[in-house]
Symmetry: C2
Subunit: 313 residues, 2 copies
């Protein structure tokens, strides 16, 4: 399949070519860090990468996609991606054979599309300067699937950004990228944040810091009840008696911890509020992705967030 | 390590023994169906299997664990499991070498413990006879990890049972068992339910049937707001004006659909209520496990469920 309006480079057919190996190497962290690039694989991730590229291009921001590789069959199956790739400011899609694509890809089912992307993470300062009201902070989350799932949940709940501390999993890991289901390209992400500096910065920007902690002394459902009661009583966020209780309707940063160890004790202490998702059955604990989802949605609801295009809801 | 008070069979050392192969074969569906047995692997699943076995034994119910295989190191690391296995009515743990255990196991990291368990699913009739107020129904969910995660979330939210329709993934698949993190042994599970019969039975037992559907016309947050408002206004479940709107505080069965296709259209139609988890960001959709978690917790909260042992909360 040809891509209209562009001169076509010949299809890449040699799976052992240097260029193919260079792309494949981005599945590994050393190559990613050296080149400050990562892989978006499959139609969903590639589509969102191209969209972000287009948005940034329109606002004079840095480009996202530096190279796009596709099999002819994948472009036929995804005409919208073929059209996006044909847009201004984008590198033309390079046609590759199935063998070449399989060699480049880290997945068993690469679905015919790979984009090489520049790192897209942003600085903590830029996130805080935008006056966020809902942040998800991942502290030493180690499983790429969990990190990706939380990022996707944060996107769904309308969070303003996701922050990963240093020693968390690399979000540019192909499995993490895949688990975000495209959400990686939807909201700002801060990587490698220093724990202590982060906490100080969150405070400075008047964010309530809530530590999600299975052993927490504050029940999330109680906080939701209090928030509902305030709203129905007509008290705005500033109304009601001042107190030590966290208010879900206020600008909030949630801290989510490691799968096995949870959050470090000193960080829980420093957060000031330890909030537990109640367990109504016999389960010992919640998966961190599940807990994060429930917490972020509770905040979204209390803050009366609205879908991006309410008219189509 | 010896297990006190029991004559010890000699450790199994031959990874090619017939008995080892028979256990390993339970990773496959044909052997499971033929023998009506499945594998619980690792300390968490084995512990919960033994506990359920003990509970059932005390109430004269059918035994759960028919055989228990353990390395000496695993029993040393998990003295509580060694003690449980030493309880009355349990088959003594059979010591095996690491090689034997690795051969029996379907996982890369078997952690030294495998229990052969009888099928523990129950009939739909028995579940409905217990007058459930919160049910999770999985309709053609295909991924074992998703099914396991939803079961774990249902356990956390205090659901009374989980029902899988025919053509859903086999919940006794080792990956599904693992994803439940022990919850498989916590609440009743119905397998292979017929879609149409199920829906009729749910209705007959006065359960409100809510179809979780990304394209639903009813917003879950709106239902939660209405429920909160009724509660704060002092209207009980029976109070307020009758209407067509679903009420989260009423006995509810949630339907969750296939990862790619969602719920079948005829089932959504029959359910009567199509409820969407709102998306406040740019995510296209929610993972079915994430959506199920948010829905089940919304019901748990509206129904004012309480943790099993509130005094320790």
């Amino acid at each position: 399949m040809s891509i209209s309006g562009r001169p076509q480079a010949p299809a890449m057919t040699n799976p052992r070519a240097d260029r193919v190996r260079e792309v494949a190497r981005l599945a590994g962290r050393p190559a990613r860090l050296k080149r400050r690039q990562f892989l978006a694989e499959g139609p969903q991730a590639v589509r969102e990468a191209l969209r972000l590229h287009g948005l940034r291009g329109a606002s004079g921001g840095q480009e996202v996609v530096t190279e796009l590789f596709a099999t002819g069959a994948a472009l036929e199956r995804n005409p919208d991606i073929a059209a996006l790739a044909d847009g201004p400011g984008l590198p033309a899609a390079r046609l590759v054979t199935d063998e070449v694509l399989a060699e480049m890809s880290s997945t068993v089912t690469p679905q015919g599309l790979i984009a090489v992307c520049r790192f897209i993470d942003v600085s903590l300062e830029s996130v805080l300067a935008a006056r966020p009201t809902l942040l998800a902070v991942l502290v030493e989350v180690r499983d790429p699937g969990n990190a990706g799932t939380i990022l996707r949940a944060a996107d769904s709940a309308g969070a303003d950004a996701v922050i990963l501390t240093a020693s968390s999993v690399d979000l540019y890991n192909p499995k993490a990228v895949r688990s975000t289901a495209g959400s990686l390209f939807h909201l700002p992400v801060v990587l490698g944040a220093d724990r202590d500096e982060l906490l100080a910065a969150l405070r400075e920007h008047s964010l309530t810091v809530l530590a999600a902690d299975g052993y927490g002394d504050v029940d999330l459902d109680a906080l939701q009840d209090e928030s509902s009661a305030r709203r129905l009583a007509g008290a705005g966020p500033a109304g009601g008696a001042a107190g030590d209780r966290a208010r879900l309707e206020e600008p909030t940063a949630w801290l989510f911890g490691n799968e096995a160890q949870g959050l470090p004790a000193d960080l829980v202490e420093a957060a000031g509020h330890r909030v537990a998702v109640p367990i109504y059955g016999q389960a010992e604990s919640l998966n961190v992705g599940t807990a994060a989802t429930v917490c972020l949605y509770a905040s979204a609801r209390a803050q009366r967030r609205t879908p991006p295009d309410a008219s189509t809801a």
